[in-house]
Symmetry: C2
Subunit: 249 residues, 2 copies
DNA sequence: CGGAAGATTGAGCGTAGTCAAACCGAGTGG
DNA sequence: CCACTCGGTTTGACTACGCTCAATCTTCCG
């Protein structure tokens, strides 16, 4: 049971060359939204992007895919594992701006200036595909719908950040942690994992940096939510016992 | 002197139909970055976008250009005045996610889902140009560099939000307000206004919402910065007396 | 002149930060 | 096999920053 949680459900895809139909599942971000005409436009630009992603790469825990300020060359599609996006602060600390899991893209923050605005670091041993942004640019310049897909992908980053701003700007510590857990739950559920039982890949300190609070407060808030019978917490293993209650903190 | 501050320096542009070279000044966001080959590619897609912007529109203070959840039809280029982007909270309050001033674009948050993720409201009587996103999409689909410009514009929103996350996640109230003032200063300076003396268009409450603190704390922090001789504050009229000191709060 | 909206200031309180100690599990080496 | 270290986590005591509630003041505008 617990083993199943820590293994991707569609791990079979990892053993064979990526096929479009599989990638639709692995990378919901990459393809058209369900309410659009063609659920997956085989043989077109999107398929060519996917072809490009054959350059698999393993990344060890703590390894950096790219650093803040480096020139922007690649987009990374996460096959397995998870990552954090960090911004260096003047005092030497780091601010975590985002967490990314399998099926999500990494590195889009470089589109604006041609330089990465953040660093991308693996939270665990992971596997990614590198996509040359120069080639993506060529595909976009050519006729086709690739450009609208890319714009939507980047636009989605904007929307994601908006909700993070709401969390940081208007919620107290319990609400922040609840929002974080619900967000994790929802994203894992969308990828076929359990929505109520999962394993966090980040430390208390990293959660705190992301949520704008100290690691001690994160820890205290976890036990507080546990006392309210909303979650069970065993180190990084989380069991949500009352989704509704968590949403109404 | 003070009159000059409240009037756009290049106001002449408002009286005549927009010409590309003028718009390069008015909308630094819209065009290519200076280090690129062609500083301004006349007669190409970008020029066609600018032609589209002939649909001027006056917006009264407090008027809404678009509301959260509405379908995304237009991008707005701000000619004069200023705006706020707000997100509705469950408790009926609003969270301000961004302020926008003349020469900036408004409404790009709708690219992701075809729905606006925020509401855009005028902070003062303003003037905007509406740009049909459908037509922008056509231009992007056609061959040309329009798509890369648009992707950069959207990507810039991502980067802007990153620094806001840093402010909300890791700074105390004095640092937040200092960062806010320096940001205003820098953006106004980039548009030809004074970097050290300007007039805020938003209330203390709106600043507080944007910075994740209460209006009382904003007010107290203003007087605190004033006691430290870093700024002179007269209601909404700000004079920065020590830019360096403000940056090192 | 009076009302309304915004801004300032004060007093008291509470949430979350700081500093510190103890705990726990995993890995390492004697 | 046990002792040891080390990174991560939990818990406690104390503090302080910023919030809440409330009163006052200013400016604007009908």
């Amino acid at each position: 049971m617990r083993n199943a949680l820590e293994q991707p459900l569609r791990q079979s895809a990892l053993q064979m060359p990526p096929l479009p139909t599989e990638l639709w599942h692995e990378y919901p971000d990459l393809v058209l939204r369900p309410n659009e005409r063609t659920p997956y436009p085989t043989g077109n630009d999107t398929a060519r992007l996917i072809d490009l992603m054959s350059g698999r790469r393993k990344v060890r825990q703590g390894e950096c895919l790219y650093r803040e300020g480096e020139s922007f060359q690649y987009i990374y599609a996460i096959h397995s594992g998870s990552f954090k996006s960090t911004l260096a602060l003047t005092d030497g600390c780091e601010q975590i701006s985002n967490f990314h899991m399998m099926g999500e893209l990494l590195g889009l923050d470089g589109v604006a200036e041609g330089l990465h605005a953040s660093s991308g670091t693996a939270l665990e041993d992971s596997e990614v595909s590198t996509v040359s942004y120069a080639y993506v640019g060529e595909l976009c310049a050519a006729a086709g719908d690739m450009q609208s897909t890319m714009m939507r992908l980047i636009g989605r980053e904007v929307v994601r950040n908006y909700s993070h701003v709401v969390v940081l700007g208007s919620l107290n510590s319990a609400q922040r942690l609840a929002a974080f857990l619900l967000n994790q739950s929802q994203r894992l559920h969308a990828r076929g994992y359990s929505a109520v039982e999962f394993h966090l890949k980040m430390t208390r300190g990293e959660i705190g940096s992301y949520l704008g609070m100290t690691l001690e407060t994160v820890s205290r808030t976890f036990t507080e939510l546990q006392l309210q019978r909303l979650v069970k917490v065993d180190r990084r293993h989380i069991t949500i016992t009352c989704l509704d209650g968590l949403a109404h903190v």
